[in-house]
């Protein structure tokens, strides 16, 4: 069963400045009196998310709304299991695919083919399965002979096509997206959208963070409104959009 359950989950970052991050000041903290005190005060804690309670089940189409810095991206990372909460708990059941960074793990010195394999193995395939996937990605991305050249020779659009092709080749249970992805020129974008819609429709849980109400209306039915790392409100999408953006 596909499920995400957050119980009082918080994500806190301690920002160490250059001084308190070094071992020297940590030793001094133990040894010295005065310096120790000030070194301790140097530490700034950022509460990126505070006491989040959330239970997502199969069929959820959730929108995250909120201003810049409200915690949307951190929330996506928390839901994807990148951050284990610094307090509280997060239980994530199902294969997660975060379409947050399509070019993650791409090595510019290796060929497109090798990068497809690397990325697919990252997504949980064996090397043999990944190799079998190459022709399909090659056809989709239309890279042709470029596939055997190092990725540093690719234009950014070509690299995106490749990354997108692999990232969407495996059907995940949970999809996390930061804004709707758009890849390539008009013709290719159409093809990409169809491919993306297919895996979005088949996913158990879909979470999208976006500033565009249009996008959210198209894919989501529920929403939560984040502000300063806390859930301000949650409920049907239209109600939350009204609350968050004010009546238009």
């Amino acid at each position: 069963m596909v499920e995400i359950k957050l119980d009082n989950a918080s994500v806190e970052f301690s920002i160490y400045n250059a001084r308190s991050r070094s071992l020297k000041s940590n030793l001094m903290k133990r040894v010295g009196g005065h310096i120790g005190q000030s070194a301790k005060d140097d530490r700034v804690v950022i509460h990126a998310l505070r006491d989040i309670n959330l239970h997502l089940k199969t069929g959820t189409r959730l929108a995250l709304v909120g201003h810049n810095g409200a915690g949307k991206s951190t929330m996506l990372h928390l839901l994807g299991g990148v951050y284990e909460p610094s307090s509280g708990s997060a239980i994530i059941k199902g294969r997660v695919s975060s379409l947050l960074d399509l070019s993650m793990g791409m090595d510019p010195e290796q060929t497109g083919r090798e990068n497809i394999i690397l990325r697919a193995v990252f997504l949980g395939m064996s090397i043999a399965q990944a190799k079998a996937l190459v022709p399909e990605i090659a056809e989709f991305s239309e890279l042709g002979p470029y596939l055997d050249l190092p990725m540093r020779t690719y234009s950014s659009g070509m690299a995106m096509r490749l990354g997108f092709g692999v990232s969407t080749a495996i059907q995940p249970d949970i999809i996390l997206m930061d804004e709707m992805i758009a890849v390539g020129d008009v013709r290719f974008a159409e093809k990409a959208r169809a491919r993306l819609h297919k895996i979005m429709d088949n996913a158990g849980i879909l979470v999208i963070a976006s500033h565009s109400s249009e996008t959210l209306r198209q894919y989501c039915d529920r929403a939560i409104w984040l502000k300063e790392g806390q859930v301000l409100a949650g409920g049907p999408l239209e109600d939350i959009l009204k609350e968050a953006h004010g009546p238009d």
């Binding site: 806190e12 970052f13 301690s14 991050r21 070094s22 071992l23 020297k24 940590n26 990372h77 994807g80 299991g81 990148v82 951050y83 284990e84 610094s86 708990s89 994530i92 997660v96 975060s98 947050l100 960074d101 993650m104 793990g105 090595d107 010195e109 290796q110 090798e114 394999i117 690397l118 193995v121 990252f122 949980g124 064996s126 090397i127 190092p150």
Partner: protein, 266 residues
Amino acid sequence: MHGGSYYNLALKDIVQGFSKWQLAWLLGIGDIKQRYARSKLGQFWITLSMLIFIVAIGVVYSFLFHQEIKSFLPYVACNYVAWTWLSTSIIESSTVFVQAQGYIKQTPIPRSIFALRTIIRNFVNFLHNIIIIFLVFVCMLHPISWNMFLVIPGIFFILCCGFFSSLCLGVICTRFRDLPQIVQAIMQILMFLTPVMWPVSSLSKNALAIVEYNPMAALMHVVSKPFLGIVPDMSDYILSSITLLVLMIGSGYIFARFRARIVYWL
């Protein structure tokens, strides 16, 4: 969270890491390819520069220590190849997670994969460097004996050592970014305290302790001695096992306790 679950999660991380060994393999090999991308000799540059170093040191020190070059050059070659592997494994274990921050900050991934990646990378380097040993043996007409098969347990010791050192040093060094430099400096000192380039026989009786109680020397010897055709002493194995055990317990605690914090420190 209570103590037990820390250990369960850490163990789960390690089990998953091993089950994804193919990813660690691709990453490790990718590192090597990346370092020597576009160079013709590629990986063999390391081997070549090490060969030059070994021959130079071997010749000079054989005069300094009044050793016969025919036996001293193979001695230095075996020691230096084993030492380089051991010390690089430890030095690079301090940056495993910092190096992998691009991945760790983007996807949920077992942290132990990156420890495996580092030991794979260093092991492949070591396999290349073995060529030097055979090259020197051929030139110096050094006999090859069956004792050479004893390198297998030795290799196992260094692999484990690199793995556990990644899990503890790697975690601590992610939090304290000055430590990798300190580790590197300590390794340099340890190299002079370990009989890599000088014969143990050149030590006076009182100074023998720096070899007898030196874990780095023991770990080096379990690999370098079998290559030379010598059976390592029991004391080498005992000291290596103790070192490994201490490292295992220490890394078990540190990794379990701070594994979840790694991503916050990056």
